[in-house]
Amino acid sequence: MSSRLHTHLGPMFLEYPVINASGTLDLLETADALGLDGDYRVPVAAYVPKTVTMLPREGNPTPRVAEVAAGMVNSIGLPNEGVKAFVADTLPRLLNLTCPLIVNVAGFSRDEYVSVVERVSRALADELGSDKGTWAPRVGIELNVSCPNVDSGCMSIGTDAEEIARLTQAVRDVWPTPLLLAVKLTPNVTDIASMALAAEEAGASAVSLVNTFKGLIVDRDTLKPYLGGITGGLSGPAIKPLALRCVFEVAAVVDIPIIGMGGIACTQDVVEFMACGASVVAVGAAGFVDPWLPARLAEELEEVLCERSLTLSELIGKIH
C-alpha cells in the first residue's frame, strides 16, 4: 500500500493504520476456511489473535451471540487453547505471517498475566533469539483488562486505575521498553481517561479502546436472559459514538498512541476515529461479514486523504 499510509505504532512499523480487534479475526482458520494457500495477502497491518490465558478455556455456554439493531452482543467467554499450546502450536505459525504480531493476553490475577507474558517471551527467545530489542518491530503485547464475559480478573482489573497501574508495571518488568505494551481498556467505567493515564504512567506504550459495552439480551419467548453467559458485550456500529467519545477523552490526556475501535464498519468511521485521536484503528465485529475489510478500509482511507489533502499525521487528532 502507498507510503502515504505508512505509520508506526510504538516501535512497530505498520504498512497502514488498520489492524483487527482481538477475538474477531482468526486469520489461520479464516484462510483455511476460504481455501487460501500459504501466500495470501494478510488483510491487516498487524495481527492481533484472540486472547490467550494461562490455562485452556472452554468459554461460556451457548447461545453466545445475538444480533441487535446495528450490532451484536456476544458472550463468548475467552475460549482459547491456553498459553502452553499457543506458544507450541500457534505462535510459530503467526510469526511466519508477513505482518507484525500483537499477542493479546488476559489473566485472573496479576501474576497470571505476568506468567503468560513470560511464557510468550521464552518462546520468542527460542524463535527470534534472546536479544529483545530485535523483537520490537515484530511482536507486541496487548493486555486485555476489559473482557466483560468472565467472572474474575480481566474487567475487574480494568475498572480500577490502581490495579491497571500495578499490572502494567508488573508486565513491564518482564516485557521491557522498547517492546510494544498496549493496555486494552473497558468503556464500562465512569472515567476512561483516568484509566488510560494510569496505564501510561505505569509504562504502557499504547492504549487500545474500547472493548465491548456490557449488555443484556432478553429471550423473546421466555423473557429470561437469552445468552448462556447471562450478560454479554455489545459491539458494532451501535457503540461507535460511545467509543468515539472515549477516544476523544483519552486523547486529550495521554501522549501515547491510541488504537481506536468500536463499531468501525466503513472508511468514514476510520476517519472519525483518527480525527478524535486514534493513531491506529482496529476493525472488530464488522470484519465477520468481510474478513478482508481492514485492508479495504485502508485503501479507501488513502483516497480520502488525497481528496482532503491531508497527511495521516494531520488527520490524527484533528478534532482537538
Binding site: 476460504l34 451457548t62 453466545r64 465477520f288
Partner: protein, 298 residues
C-alpha cells in the same frame, strides 16, 4: 474474499424462497457446504449461513469453469435476515462468503469422485456395498439435496437412493419440486431411487414424522445423510442406533456470526465432550462424532 452475487431467479416454492444467484469468482461447492449471505442493501449487521442448494460450477465435466457460476439457496423466512433474503428480486445484489465448511464428501459420507470410487474404500457410499443411501430431510433441510443428487449421479451410486422428507403440511411439501430435475437424472442414469414424504398434519404423503417412515424401513447396512432441525437430527440418530446403522452423517445448524472460525459463536458440544466450532469441523459431522455411540436405545 467476499463475493458479490446477482439474483438471477427468485421464486417461492411453498413458503420457501428459492434464489438462483450468479456469483463471479465462486469456486464451486460440495453438497453440505454453506455460504454466509446477506442482501447488499441490508438492515442486518451480520450475514446468515445458508446451505448451498445447487451449484452448476460443481459439474465435474467442466473443471476450472469459474465464470457465471449459478448457485442456488432455499430460504425459510424465520426472522429479519432470512426475511430480507426472501424478499430479494431479480437483479438485486447479495454479498456471499463461501463456500464454507465440511460438506458430505469431505466428512467421508460420499466418495470424493466417480472415477476414484473403486480406489476409495474409506468412503461410506459408492464402494460397491449393498447398502442404500438414505437421505433424510426436514422442512428447509431439503435445501442441500439438489447438489447431493448431482454428486450421487456423478458417482454412479448403484446401490439405490431413498429420499425421506418430512414437512409440516402440504404447503411446505411443495418444496419437493426442487428435487425433480435431480431425481429425473438419477432415473436416466438408472440409479434406483424412491421418495417417501410425511406431513405432520397428514395433508400430503404419510401422516406423521419422517422418523416414523425411517424406523419402518431402515437396514443396518444403509448409509444415512440427514439435514434438518437439531431435534430431528437427534431423533434420526436414535433410530439409526436402534437399527444398528453406524454410517450416518448430519448437517448441523447453530447460530453463526462469521462462518469462518473467528467468533467461536457456533460451538456445539460433541461426543468427545469438547465444544467445537460447527462452521469449521462441520456443518456435516458423523453421528458418532456429533452425538456419540453410548446413547440409550429404547
Amino acid at each position: 474474499m467476499r463475493l458479490v452475487g446477482r439474483v438471477a431467479e427468485a421464486a417461492f416454492v411453498g413458503p420457501y424462497a428459492h434464489l438462483a444467484v450468479e456469483i463471479p469468482g465462486w469456486k464451486g461447492a460440495q453438497s453440505g457446504q454453506f455460504a454466509m449471505i446477506q442482501a447488499a442493501e441490508s438492515r442486518c449487521f451480520l450475514a446468515r449461513p445458508f446451505s448451498v442448494s445447487d451449484d452448476e460450477t460443481h459439474i465435474e465435466t467442466t473443471p476450472g469453469t469459474h465464470h457465471a457460476a449459478r448457485v442456488s439457496f432455499l430460504v425459510d423466512e424465520v426472522g429479519r435476515g432470512s426475511g430480507e433474503l426472501a424478499a430479494l428480486r431479480v437483479d438485486d445484489r447479495v454479498h456471499v462468503l463461501g463456500p464454507l465448511g465440511r460438506g458430505f464428501a469431505a466428512a467421508g459420507a460420499v466418495a470424493p469422485a466417480a472415477r476414484r470410487t473403486a480406489a476409495c474404500p474409506a468412503a461410506g457410499v459408492g464402494r460397491g456395498g449393498a447398502g442404500r443411501l438414505v437421505i433424510v430431510a426436514g422442512g428447509a433441510g431439503i435445501a442441500p439435496l439438489p447438489l447431493l443428487l448431482r454428486e450421487i449421479e456423478s458417482r454412479l451410486i448403484r446401490s439405490g437412493v431413498l429420499v425421506l422428507a418430512g414437512f409440516r403440511s402440504s404447503r411446505e411439501a411443495q418444496a419437493l419440486c426442487i428435487l425433480d430435475d435431480g431425481l429425473e437424472r438419477l432415473r436416466r442414469c438408472r440409479i434406483p431411487s424412491e421418495v417417501g414424504i410425511t406431513t405432520e398434519d397428514g395433508s400430503f404423503g404419510f401422516a406423521g414424522m419422517v422418523t416414523d417412515l425411517l424406523d419402518r424401513d431402515l437396514q443396518p447396512d444403509d448409509t444415512v445423510l440427514v439435514c434438518g432441525p437439531s431435534a430431528m437430527c437427534e431423533a434420526v440418530w436414535k433410530v439409526c442406533r436402534r437399527h444398528g446403522v453406524r454410517r450416518a452423517w448430519f448437517s448441523l445448524e447453530t447460530l453463526m456470526a462469521c462462518g469462518v472460525g473467528s467468533c467461536h459463536g457456533c460451538v456445539t458440544r460433541v461426543a468427545d465432550g469438547t465444544l467445537t466450532r460447527v462452521c469449521r469441523r462441520g456443518p456435516v459431522m458423523a453421528g458418532e462424532e456429533a452425538f456419540g455411540a453410548e446413547e440409550e436405545t429404547t
